[in-house]
Symmetry: C3
Amino acid sequence: MELSAREIAEIVAAEVHGDPERTIRGVAGLDAGAADQIGFLVGKADAGALAKTGLGAVFVKEVPDEPVSATLLVVDDPNLAFAIIAGRFHPLPRAVETRIHPTAVVGDGVEFDGPVEVGAHCVIEDGVRIGAGTVIEALAFVGGNCVIGADCLIHAQAVLYHGVVLGDRVRIHGHAVIGCDGFGFAVDKGRYVRVPQVGTVVLEDDVEVGACACIDRATFDETRVRRGTKIDNLVHIAHNCEIGEDGALAAQVGLAGSTKVGARARFGGQVGIAGHVEIADDVSLGAKTGVPQSIGEPGYYLGIPSLPAKETLKIWALWRRLPELWRTRKGSRGE
Amino acid sequence: MELSAREIAEIVAAEVHGDPERTIRGVAGLDAGAADQIGFLVGKADAGALAKTGLGAVFVKEVPDEPVSATLLVVDDPNLAFAIIAGRFHPLPRAVETRIHPTAVVGDGVEFDGPVEVGAHCVIEDGVRIGAGTVIEALAFVGGNCVIGADCLIHAQAVLYHGVVLGDRVRIHGHAVIGCDGFGFAVDKGRYVRVPQVGTVVLEDDVEVGACACIDRATFDETRVRRGTKIDNLVHIAHNCEIGEDGALAAQVGLAGSTKVGARARFGGQVGIAGHVEIADDVSLGAKTGVPQSIGEPGYYLGIPSLPAKETLKIWALWRRLPELWRTRKGSRGE
Amino acid sequence: MELSAREIAEIVAAEVHGDPERTIRGVAGLDAGAADQIGFLVGKADAGALAKTGLGAVFVKEVPDEPVSATLLVVDDPNLAFAIIAGRFHPLPRAVETRIHPTAVVGDGVEFDGPVEVGAHCVIEDGVRIGAGTVIEALAFVGGNCVIGADCLIHAQAVLYHGVVLGDRVRIHGHAVIGCDGFGFAVDKGRYVRVPQVGTVVLEDDVEVGACACIDRATFDETRVRRGTKIDNLVHIAHNCEIGEDGALAAQVGLAGSTKVGARARFGGQVGIAGHVEIADDVSLGAKTGVPQSIGEPGYYLGIPSLPAKETLKIWALWRRLPELWRTRKGSRGE
């Protein structure tokens, strides 16, 4: 596939500075590019790299003062323009005809709502329904009666327990586990008794789940991740949680059971949230933050336990001066 | 399967208020129930939901003042009664006849001590022994000479390295890895040299291991998890650890090497414990707690580093007032 | 296999005290050993165990005063000598002839540079190249155009996404995921748009990756782990990271995107490092440490946020005395 700089500019409504007839055949970083590749300038810090780049075209927010050899495509958001064009050159795989690898084991009553690809050694249990365009890579496991939407991409060795529901364009990475039993037990004379987890997991349209992430099924109803939310590697989402739309949860985040998270969550790595709490819309949490209770107001929170980030940053500054504070306490002799 | 309210009451020694002849065919939450389902009331907070429930029967601790349409089954522990009855309606799968999927690869000298199910594309290596009733789901891997007890449930894509020993009724979730090498190295002129891990892992009766949890094999002898302990998703248990009976380790907990944990541990999510320490029986650790040294007394601990929870909660309250404390230090002018 | 104590002494340049003709057929711990096994004394704390050991030979740093029945092999580093000899008795598997299990699915254009073993139900996609001696265990997935060096060991159910490059003697444990997409998105009117991750992952010679660890592919170029670095279970390494030679990252460590770590890193469990920072050579981080910014000096760091460990330890000591400090603040009446 190839596109001229002019064609690219039309797709993302960019203004062209330089040769619009350059032929672009791929994408690359500023440092490593070739004349038929396009990249983008993240910020002013990279301006030096722009002058030296071998790329044929670069998305920029502003045209620099000194001339550059690359064709510049001026847009408001170079990162977004790049993502859109890179997605053209590197689209996700999509089934255009049904291809079931002969080693795949497909159960009874499995329905395909259009072309579907199923890779080598996959196991699709009875009663599963799969939407048009969906690709299931090798060695994936899809439990009985799962419902998978259109244009999904289930990577190698992902596991869906029975009855899980995926919307359209859902992407599940390798070794993610969707629909494992919630961690629910009663206690009988000091011994744990399993509470059957009879609910399921629903991942709405455009949700993405990272490698080795685990999303447990609900005790009764459903654990739900709403449209467009992206979940990174090794994240744990316990039973009965709900996560709102358009969130981003970085790697190793953990949510305890029955917690509700609003829309547009932005959680840094290794964040932990207690069970049975509610987090408002538009809450950002710094990496490693621990949230013991509900957060009712949008904003940026930080620390263990979590506070508004401004407060935590002030405390962290003083925290470092605790020895000084100790020396100046009442009654001390400057010991 | 169906049970009358009366039959259910007999199983869990409940007192019946209302129609004992209701037919129950399943379980559900208070919110979503139907007339042939049973649920339970967690606490007084749900009393309103009880009045409105569509469930045919509900386990309660006390009969409410206002009448309800559901048959009430009064028990000391509604959660436990529910777990027991829900387990009747949703039992774990158990092999009643031996069924080896034709695509499973079963090695030489594999012994079944009774009926066993082995799913599609499983690989069972040489010399494995498996107890009666055990079900091994699709795509699981059981390394050479593992010994698996009776009525175990090995979920899709679990991995047991060679020589791992499981008791009876052990449950291993998808993508758990049991018996991986411990992280042990010597150093030779600055380079790491592998220390072979020649021990194994023993999981006693009724242990449950969550999705993507990792329990490493011992350097020499065994890493052991004792009877009845439940381990959630993404937990790491390093080589040579021992965990006592009837514990519950929430998701993303990590134990470093050679640590011994007593009975009835209750660890919140993301807890970390240093290596070579000992934790007494009946220790609870709040989520995200970091334990750098041994804990000799039962109790509830919290914080990084861990202290008795009462102390940590007091400190956290003052932590927030550090700026105020700073302003009132000796010699300050209220800056 | 068997070796005399004398032969063992020659391999590791040990001085023999006691019978040099003892026959050794394996390794064990001091507590559990038999007369044809060798072990090692970690430190003086184990001296009592040495007196009582049933082992036929023991590596020690010094000869104890009281006589022992075992042959003593005196070396500077007993742990290292043991690792070397234990590695002789328990070598990693190595392919000496090509054996492709009949159930393995091997794509077009796959090249073996010598003897290679491929286990049951493996899937090796098109264009993969594999070095001599490499063993790929059952149910592993190797994506298209991966390049795997010589004498590698890919354990059961490991996943390599397409195009990943492994050096020689690389070891990948079960359920590790190498080359998953980096967590990179642009935002279009509040919705996330995938940024294709067109780079790859390079793991240099002698790198080891633990169970369920995830190393993401780079946006453009490569995520790289340099020679000899060992990565424990459940570690997350985000896109574009670089980790220097001879490092050791304990379980559940997380590195955010584009972070550069120097040589000889030693990170405790559950450490987290922010994105786009640089960590100097020879940096050690205590367990659970959170690093928000670059660390320019070698040393041992600790805490959230990280400080030189000495400082953090001093602060932690005072932290515990915050209530006391509060009571003695200016203007307080000892409340």
